[in-house]
Assembly symmetry: C2
Amino acid sequence: MNLYKMSARDAITRMRDSSCSSEELVTSCLKQIKFRENVVGVRAFLDEEASLNQSRQADRRMKDNNSSTPFLNWVPVGIKDIFDTRDMPTENGSVTCLDRRPEQDTLAIERLRNAGAVIMGKTVTAELAVYTPGKTTNPHDPARTPGGSSSGSAAAVASGMVPMATGMQKNGSLIGPASFCGVVGYKPTFGMIPWSGILRQAPSLDQVGVFTRNVGDSALLASVLTGRQECYSDTLPWPNLNFALLMRKDQSPSRLAFAKTPVWSESTSAAKDVFLAYVHDLKANIVELDLTEICNQAVACHHTIMLCEMAHNYESLYDEHRSQISPILLRMIDEGREISSIEYLDAKNLSAEIAGSVDHVLKDFSAVLTPSDAPEGLEAMGSPIFSTLWSLCGVPTISLPVLKGAHGMPLGLQLVSARGKDSTLLQVAQWLEDNTALPLADNERSRS
Amino acid sequence: MNLYKMSARDAITRMRDSSCSSEELVTSCLKQIKFRENVVGVRAFLDEEASLNQSRQADRRMKDNNSSTPFLNWVPVGIKDIFDTRDMPTENGSVTCLDRRPEQDTLAIERLRNAGAVIMGKTVTAELAVYTPGKTTNPHDPARTPGGSSSGSAAAVASGMVPMATGMQKNGSLIGPASFCGVVGYKPTFGMIPWSGILRQAPSLDQVGVFTRNVGDSALLASVLTGRQECYSDTLPWPNLNFALLMRKDQSPSRLAFAKTPVWSESTSAAKDVFLAYVHDLKANIVELDLTEICNQAVACHHTIMLCEMAHNYESLYDEHRSQISPILLRMIDEGREISSIEYLDAKNLSAEIAGSVDHVLKDFSAVLTPSDAPEGLEAMGSPIFSTLWSLCGVPTISLPVLKGAHGMPLGLQLVSARGKDSTLLQVAQWLEDNTALPLADNERSRS
């Protein structure tokens, strides 16, 4: 068996009973990277020897002290290149940050290291995590977009280079690529994972998340990353995720809803049919919600908040490196600079109201099913509009690779639950994965 | 003995052992109000019969079930007229809110009622809790300002009308009047007391506080008001104040500092001498801090945040009732409307940095001693500048009536501790009150 194909949890089990080592796993992943990188192009930075060294250390820790081996020991994790790392460059997908070398790890990276993970390298992000794509292609078809901005992380997991990777979204940067690449993408409730040391774009919206090839691995990785630091830090006082509790097998989920919004009419009829057939096949009593109006409000409100906060956070870039910023990002910053403080504060207030209304709707359901994206999107990285409402409200959301769209390409099913209800969300996702998943998408073309 | 002169805690003790009733206490306070109101002018609203009814109910509760009588049962509390009350008008000191009748109590009022307090009436506030004063005069000299914007609450407590009252500050609206009127004014750490249902001015700065005639009563009232509601509410996850723990008598405080900033040079030499003599008389090893630079940064930053948020929150007033707003407030709103979102976000970022630096300085000390105000202030209500840094940072602060300034008028000593260190602050304040207090200021001129 090819070790690189294993889920993180399977790998951990096998390493615990000594039927393989971290070094073997990392070696297998490095081979797969060699095999696929030329076409898929996920690499922002990779030091093979450093990865192997980490895996050897993990193997030694295991030998030295089996009982207290940390949680994620041995497992390679890919890191979106907007997370500061003390031993690798962090270039934020921008020529303005070439060979930028942060002094410290982000808190998220520190937590991964403490849990024993092998930090496998940095993955390609769109320019400053906004719109202009990097070199990554879709692992299922190099002529198609992998989605963005967390393109490299999603594609790395989909193509078997790493079993887990980190991402971030302020709009659709996580759910989009997960859907396009056919992997699980999970964004916990806003404020569950600390974002200090991660490229700051729009602090009201920035949300860290994870990519894996199954729901259980997402829950495992997120449970390592979540956790409140202290008062006035950048996390909110949500309860930590408890991996063991999360993954207990539940009976079939009750109280599901589905929502076609917000741009159903613009989706292809193939995508609509696939989604509706899936909902129908669940044979459950699923309520349809109409969220069109609130989605439209959310899009306008999200736009104002995102542009103001980006204009603010990219102010020195704008002042000092204007010629090195893409035209589309420059236009966004210019627009943000023109917005007045009262317009911004109006949008912030409206955002809190929308989030309250959405919580009110969601509280009646375990989860709402909705498309992850419009697969035939008009833009270079697909449209984030299927994620805008959820990002604005900070609700937990997960994309499951259980649908197939046009041309046999993956198509994500998005599940959404109320803020703080991550456990419920993951349990429903696990149930759907167990009972409705497609055979694992064909993410490697020839190697066997 | 005149019951109205008693501290809240003495009154509670006497009522518990049945040596007086709430009705007698409230009757005594109402008499004192009659005696002083004409000159001091604290009343925004008072229904004497309703106050007496509440006191009779409290007495009945006591008779019916002595053991589970709530915490503040019997005690009359004055309420700044920006706290919504379901059974009294809330006019916010503005003709635009004449006879405004809210449907619900604020959470703070609800907590007071649950604790058995007698809601004694509403006290005068400056126009919309900003600069233009109401009718209140200084209880120690009707020709002088009582400070503002919480003028009525401070003057009511100082003149014996109620033993306790609520206030609010976003700049110096609580510490100023406490100092001018010669009472204790205590503003807990930002976010310890919920502010929902209270006039929203500048949510990044608005902070609820209390007035009493001694430190113990302030701790008691604050402990009833504090407490986190829920995630995403308007409180932060500070631990609740524990009244019993707070008031244990400690040895003399260690690690004190003093700071003359920010406008020491503009204070009268009399005020400076009094303050320095007090610090000197403590005969403790007190470190002098120079906070001039950070204070100046804070003033600019506070100005931007306050104006933007006020312009936002008073937007509909501005649009619909411009002619009924005072010129000074109109100018502030106009200025706020001109500020861009990136300037606002810059100020918010700087504010977080300043708060971090201040925490870093304060963590080495139990408390920092500093003047509460410039008693010969140039403005109608005194200058808030001695409070700006502390309000911006959200640190807990208390003004103690332990100094006497020019013309025998009260002069507050302000104590400040790091965020979340309210217990330490109150313990130092208690020690200073026990060991250095002046005889209780002469707050009633003739009645005996």
